[in-house]
């Protein structure tokens, strides 16, 4: 279950520069520091219904990245003037716990990064939730990162989708998140924290699986236009396996539910 690097012993690496060099040397051979293939996701774990108070909840892990999401709603909006007459609003909060990062404690107050990510996650979910069905209400999606090992925002999107499904919120599609990255010329999926910190580019993507639409797309680093398109293709491919896992978890929950109500 651990995604600890297996190809190299990180404890023997003395500087970021050395790690960066090793990562790039491996990349030239199409390899990654944790032994994965370029298009290989880390082990994924998914659970739904983990929190009894929430209307829906989910835990999603991508390797050592752990995200939990809780959904409350549709429910009344406070203060009222935020409500929209023709549809529900979506309220999204992405937050990292102080102990979720290696090294120093992260302060619990929201950072500018968390504020931006809360917004892009909201905009990744809005296209699928049937907000028009619940005018004047709010549907709240709250996410906590318990462990951060790269790809936290995309794991959060997958967790949010599962929690929305668990809450029975009607959706057009499932949105799944995956990150794509770049080390030298090698395009990879599902970055861990080292690939995120010392790679040459990061591109988080969220995909509406059935419609094939992209609802989150960000990038930084340096990419040629052609690399961007290759990265997008890799993301679509990775979304397949995430989708299957998500579908199975939701299905078994419903089967479970059906059994208990019989």
């Amino acid at each position: 279950m651990s995604s600890q690097p297996t190809l190299i012993d990180l404890s023997k690496i003395t500087s970021p520069a050395e790690l960066r060099r090793i990562m790039h040397d491996l990349a030239r051979e199409g390899k990654r520091i944790d032994g994965r293939a370029p298009d290989q996701m880390r082990p994924i774990r998914m659970e739904v219904g983990i929190l009894s108070n929430a209307d829906g909840s989910a835990l999603v892990t991508y390797g050592d990245t752990v995200a939990i999401a809780a959904v409350y709603g549709p429910r009344e909006v406070h203060p009222r003037h935020l409500a929209l007459p023709d549809r529900a609003i979506l309220r999204v909060r992405y937050h990292m716990t102080p102990f979720s990062t290696p090294d120093e404690r992260k302060r619990p107050e929201p950072t500018r990064r968390e504020i931006e990510i809360s917004k892009v996650i909201r905009q990744a979910l809005e296209p699928v939730v049937l907000l028009e069905q619940f005018p004047r209400t709010t549907i709240d999606v709250f996410i906590e990162i318990l462990q951060a090992d790269g790809s936290t925002r995309v794991a959060s999107i997958t967790a949010a989708s599962l929690a929305l499904a668990d809450a029975g919120i009607p959706m057009k599609d499932l949105v799944l998140g995956v990150s794509v990255g770049k080390i030298g010329d090698l395009i990879i999926v599902d970055l861990n924290r080292y690939e995120d910190a010392y790679g040459d580019g990061d591109m988080p993507i969220a995909i509406m699986y059935n419609k094939g639409l992209v609802t989150l797309l960000q990038a930084d680093g340096q990419w040629s236009p052609e690399e961007i398109m290759r990265g997008v293709e890799l993301a679509y491919k990775a979304a397949e396996s995430i989708y299957r896992a998500a579908r199975d978890v939701i299905k078994s929950k419903y089967v479970e539910a059906a059994k208990t109500t019989q």
């Binding site: 929190l51 009894s52 102990f99 462990q147």
Partner: protein, 283 residues
């Protein structure tokens, strides 16, 4: 509201429902079948948060909390130049209950954090002098962050178990002194020394009419008249915090020894959990 404490109704229960709940409890019956002095099922997973220097996930019935310890470097207080510091913070993120709005800790969260802090601080569980790096200049800071994941009552005891167990599982990174600077070598670690004999725990009672219960659920907290939390370490009372309502002298006389008694079995459970650290993060 800027630092004003305001009367709130914990949850609007219909009067009839409220009365019937109270009547049942006063007959000594709890909706989950427990006896008055029984705790709910407790599960404690220690050490499963890999990014933390110490951690514990605690289930107390449906109440779920997670505590993570982060070790930092700081300057000692002038009056205790050779002692490290403990900072306990408790957050109630909006995932935990439908009534919680996102925001900084409110008076309830602050109160719980401070009572857990006092319970640990006065217990002798942590040897603060062992956290000194350079007297008067550099000491270890133990940041304990408790997050409530699901709130079904008795956050005090769940938070205190989580904080205590997280501290017991903590390893201290080696402090490397370079000129006048100190940095932590996070790959070299030694366990934080704790005095397990003096394991600090709180025991929380609710009073409904003349009936006294331990480990109240959220429903019980919503209908109770009064609530009291007793911090215990070994055979000593190290903290008390009465919250709602009023108590008789007899109530106090009954609860204090009862707390010490219940402490013993709760302590067993925690110590057992400390001996089997958990690798997988289970919520």
């Amino acid at each position: 509201m800027y630092s004003v404490s305001i009367t709130t109704q914990p949850e609007i229960l219909p009067q009839l429902r409220r009365e019937s709940l109270r009547r049942i409890i006063e007959q000594g019956v709890r909706s989950d079948g427990r006896g008055k002095f029984d705790y709910r099922k407790i599960a404690i997973h220690v050490g499963s948060v890999r990014t933390a220097d110490g951690s514990a996930i605690v289930h107390l019935g449906n109440t779920k909390v997670i505590a993570g310890v982060k070790v930092g470097i700081g300057v000692p207080f002038p009056d205790t130049p050779d002692e490290g510091a403990l900072i306990v913070n408790l957050e109630m993120p909006p995932i935990a209950a439908p009534t919680i709005e996102p925001g900084p800790p409110d008076e309830n969260a602050i109160e719980i954090a401070r009572v857990v802090d006092r319970t640990i601080r006065h217990s002798g569980f942590i040897d603060f002098k062992s956290l000194c790096i350079v007297p008067g200049k550099h000491v270890y800071m133990l940041w304990v962050d408790v997050y409530v994941l699901n709130h079904d009552g008795n956050l005090y005891d769940a938070a205190c178990i989580a904080a205590t167990a997280a501290l017991a599982s903590t390893t201290l990174p080696r402090a490397v002194i370079e000129q006048d600077q100190v940095r932590l070598a996070r790959e070299e670690r030694a366990p934080l020394k704790v005095n397990v004999d003096a394991l600090p725990l709180t025991i929380t009672f609710a009073k409904v009419g003349n009936t006294i219960l331990v480990d109240p659920t959220l429903e019980e907290e919503n209908v109770c008249d009064s609530k009291i939390t007793v911090g215990v370490a070994k055979d000593k009372i190290v903290a008390i915090q009465k919250t709602d309502g009023a108590l008789t002298r007899d109530n106090i006389g009954q609860m204090i020894p009862k707390a010490v008694e219940l402490y013993r079995s709760l302590r067993e459970i925690v110590i057992n959990a400390l001996q089997s650290p958990h690798r997988e993060l289970i919520i």
